[in-house]
């Protein structure tokens, strides 16, 4: 899998979450995702960037165009050095929230992308990587 140049946004405010949405939208259009897939990916990115801000205490979002030889797509990495997630199965359950949200950010985003991976350690932080491929 080869990647184009990555673009990176530091997330430390509501406004940065808006910037993440806009960047992901721009790249999604550039790699020619379908309209529905653009919408799904931008929505997932919005959920995950908000988590980076709200639960992770801020962090970074990196957006990369990728190509695995057969298809092009977008790879996004959300990284923070926040408290981490102690019980991942629970956090991935629809409706589970520790923050008064709807508890759909993680579980819902996972449904909206093609690949979804979480790397988290209590006290160390959380990194979530997602990929969406062109059909």
């Amino acid at each position: 899998m080869t990647g184009g140049g990555a673009e990176r946004i530091t997330v430390s405010s509501d406004q940065d979450v808006v910037r993440v949405r806009q960047l992901v939208r721009t790249v999604a259009v550039a790699v020619k995702l379908s309209l529905v897939d653009q919408t799904k990916l931008v929505t997932a990115a919005s959920e995950l960037a908000r988590n980076t801000l709200v639960y992770g205490g801020g962090g970074t979002v990196e957006v990369t165009r990728v190509d695995n030889g057969r298809r092009t797509g977008i790879h996004i990495v959300f990284a923070d050095r926040g408290p981490g997630i102690a019980d991942l199965d629970l956090a991935l359950t629809d409706g589970y929230t520790t923050g008064g949200g709807l508890g759909l950010g993680l579980s819902g985003s996972r449904r909206l992308v093609d690949e979804f991976a979480i790397d988290t350690a209590v006290g160390r932080g959380t990194t979530i990587s997602v990929t969406k491929w062109c059909r």
């Binding site: 919408t39 959920e47 629809d94 409706g95 709807l102 449904r111």
Partner: protein, 136 residues
Amino acid sequence: MDRVPILKIGDILLVSIQIDMEDQVALQLQENLADRIVSSGCHGVIIDISALDIVDSFVGRTLATIASISRVLDAETVVVGMRPAVAITLVELGLSLPGIRTALNVELGMELLARGRYEDDDEGQDDADEPTVTAP
């Protein structure tokens, strides 16, 4: 931080969301709208989201909360103009917004409000005002 304008048209408050709202802007809208419902005595609210290219769980929840607050203040809310791709994504996200009435556009939303007001001025709305969390 931008504000979302609220227009009064007859007995209806029209909110047309034209920007990609920061979360704080959405919360602010919720408060401003509650104030305006009370100060104007309007019985209907139309929220036009045709300019929004996504609705995430935060905005979805805000819309549902606005609908609930309005109802408590004796006003009915209709969300209009949701794009097809947004509807598909919302459902897949797990948010089917059962407490929210929808219509295709502002005009149909107004019709819906006019009819509703006429027909069932009295009736105890059903429960499901909160966004239901359901795995698709």
